[in-house]
């Protein structure tokens, strides 16, 4: 379990991470989502003890990472954004070094190295120099390194960046597999990647936590909009008048059906207008050919948050100019 309380990191006057607090529970896969430069890597580097925090506390299974780093770090396997590989070594030699570094008992080292090699499907390349491996396999060796010592928490920073689509799918499978025995935290700036594997999503924006929940919760709780598309046969005036009572913004346009009109009703909150719209249009004598209700997806939620980010930036830039 990881408890993060009021975590802050400042570089001079620039605040990379600001007052971040959350709890990571055991046995789930967590996704750390945010646009580039949101502070994901900085946060992960702080949780793993690579860099210090300006303020705040991090407890790894009850051990404070800044006060008792050695105890806390035993529980973590970390794959940074760039896999930390010694390219002059073979995969096996490298993993042996990591085992020694992580204080795996001497007689178990060989077994442990074999285990992580099998787990990451790198048997074929185990005796090759890391320098000669492709990006995808380097990433796997990086993951293998994180698994050494069987830590209860695995932290992966952008694990599928720079991989080709096939490798991304394989990496996802690997991560899903890890989720069965470990708590996994992974970061990404790509939503589809996080929603594909994670049980729980934390969205971070400009160093602040803006959303925290399961993918379903996020879609439900966050301010999401609904849209109702209706194909109607009738006069535009009549339709507009009929829908006057309904609390939504209405657009009327041409439809693909030659005789019909395409009406779009948008509401800022989640709602289902099918019944009132149907009644109103029928009462006005219009014929409904089809209806399609859609809610904002997680993608939209994320885009909305990212858009806000863009909006904030423009505002602050404008402020500076003024």
């Amino acid at each position: 379990m990881i408890e993060v309380k009021g975590l802050t990191k400042r570089y001079g006057t620039h605040t990379a991470v600001s007052d971040l607090s959350f709890t990571i529970e055991d046995g789930k896969i967590y996704g750390f989502l945010g646009p580039n430069g949101a502070g994901k890597s900085t946060t992960m580097n702080m949780i793993t003890g690579c860099i210090s925090a300006t303020d705040g506390e991090v407890f790894i299974n009850g051990h404070d990472i800044f006060e008792e780093p050695l105890e806390a770090k035993k529980n973590i396997g970390y794959l940074p954004e760039l896999p930390p590989l010694y390219t002059d070594f073979t995969v096996r030699e490298y993993l042996k070094f990591v085992s020694e570094l992580k204080k795996v008992p001497k007689q178990q080292i060989k077994e442990e190295v074999d285990r992580v090699i099998t787990e990451t499907n790198t048997e074929e390349y185990a005796d090759r120099l890391i320098r000669t491996l492709s990006k995808g396999y380097r990433q796997r060796v990086g993951l293998a390194q994180a698994l050494i010592g069987n830590p209860s928490i695995i932290i992966l920073d952008e694990p599928s960046i720079g991989l080709d689509p096939k490798q991304i799918i394989e990496m996802r499978e690997l991560i899903r597999g890890l989720g069965k025995n470990h708590t996994v935290i992974l970061s990404s700036h790509i939503l589809s990647e996080v929603s594909a594997v994670c049980d729980h999503i934390l969205i971070i924006r400009r160093g602040r936590l803006v959303a925290n929940g399961t993918p379903e919760e996020l879609e439900k709780n966050l301010q999401t909009s609904s849209q109702l598309d209706v194909e109607v046969i009738g006069e535009e005036d009549v339709i507009r008048k009929a829908l006057d009572e309904i609390d939504a913004t209405i657009e009327v346009g041409k439809s693909e059906e030659p005789t019909a009109l395409h009406v779009i009703l948008k509401t800022p909150e989640k709602s289902d207008l099918r019944e009132p719209v149907s009644r109103a249009l029928s009462a006005a004598g219009c014929i409904i050919l089809g209806m399609q209700l859609s809610h904002a997806s997680l993608e939209d939620v994320f885009l909305e948050l990212t858009d806000q980010d863009v909006a904030d930036v423009t505002v602050s830039e404008g402020g500076e100019e003024a």
Partner: protein, 287 residues
């Protein structure tokens, strides 16, 4: 610490750096031994090592340039920092690995006085105390080189700075002889030092007010000292240069004296710069 030590040693021999280093060191000491002992017919091995001191400015940068800088550049430091080991263990592991690379040729060199003794009367005491001094001087210089490597991400930059520093230290003796000791020169030189310290403070804190304040206070103190006690300054600069002239500490061994204070000096410099290296890495993590 042992894990890092083994890994470092292994990577030295993985990319032939270690072999080249050892071979070159033996070659150069061999050449100087032939020159001093076999060509000039002196039985004193300490003379050969005295000439061999010149190899340090060129060899130490090669040995130390990668040590910390490369970990930073390759981002492998993140593996070390997130592992359950102390920074001091990492630094000491690296340091002892580099020391081992110097120790291997020095152990081979230990046979040279024995070889020379077949051809003349060698006094082993001075010969072996010179070997110990030579090795410890190497340890001290290695620590300085490692510290320089911890300041940059670029191993070439580290190598050039270390080379420049080592050459400066090597020729310090000659520089001191060239210098006339007068209060004004001391004042100027200390003034330059004071400004250098102010810049160092700035590079560490990025705070103009604090660093300018430090520089200002130091310069004012110097000017006051100069106006009231000029005699304190007159030889002051030379004294300071003498005390940091690490290569001159070997001189006593050249004359066959077992100078324990110099050995302690070498070990202290080594310990100090290992400590500085640890601090420099810690500081980077806190930034």
């Amino acid at each position: 610490m042992i894990a890092v030590y083994k890994k470092e040693l292994k990577s030295f021999f993985q990319n032939i750096m270690g072999f080249v280093f050892i071979a070159f060191m033996l070659l150069m000491i061999g050449i100087f031994t032939i020159a001093a002992n076999f060509a000039s017919l002196y039985p004193n091995f300490e003379y050969a090592l005295f000439s061999s001191l010149l190899i340090f400015p060129f060899l130490i940068p090669i040995l130390t340039m990668r040590s910390i800088a490369e970990e930073k550049r390759q981002r492998t430091e993140q593996l070390l920092f997130s592992a359950p080991v102390r920074i001091s263990d990492i630094v000491l592991g690296k340091y002892f690995a580099m020391i081992t690379i110097i120790l291997i040729p020095m152990l081979i060199v230990c046979t040279y006085p024995l070889i020379i003794s077949r051809y003349g009367a060698v006094s082993f005491g001075p010969a072996y105390s010179a070997i110990i001094a030579f090795f410890l001087l190497g340890c001290a210089l290695t620590a300085i080189g490692m510290f320089v490597s911890s300041l940059t991400e670029n191993q070439i930059v580290a190598a050039i700075i270390t080379l420049a520093l080592m050459l400066l230290l090597y020729f310090m003796k000659n520089l001191i002889q060239m210098m006339t000791s007068s209060a004004v020169i001391s004042l100027i030189m200390f003034g330059v030092f004071a400004i250098a310290i102010a810049f160092l403070v700035y590079s560490l804190t990025h705070n103009i007010a604090v660093s300018a304040g430090v520089g200002f206070v130091l310069v004012i103190a110097l000017v006051l000292l100069y106006s009231f006690y000029p005699e304190a300054l007159s030889s002051g600069f030379i004294t300071v240069l003498n005390s940091i002239s690490i290569f001159s500490r070997y001189d006593n061994f050249y004359f066959g004296i077992l100078d324990l204070s110099s050995l302690v000096y070498f070990i202290s410099v080594a310990a100090l710069f290992v400590f500085f290296t640890i601090q420099s890495i810690e500081k980077r993590r806190w930034n």
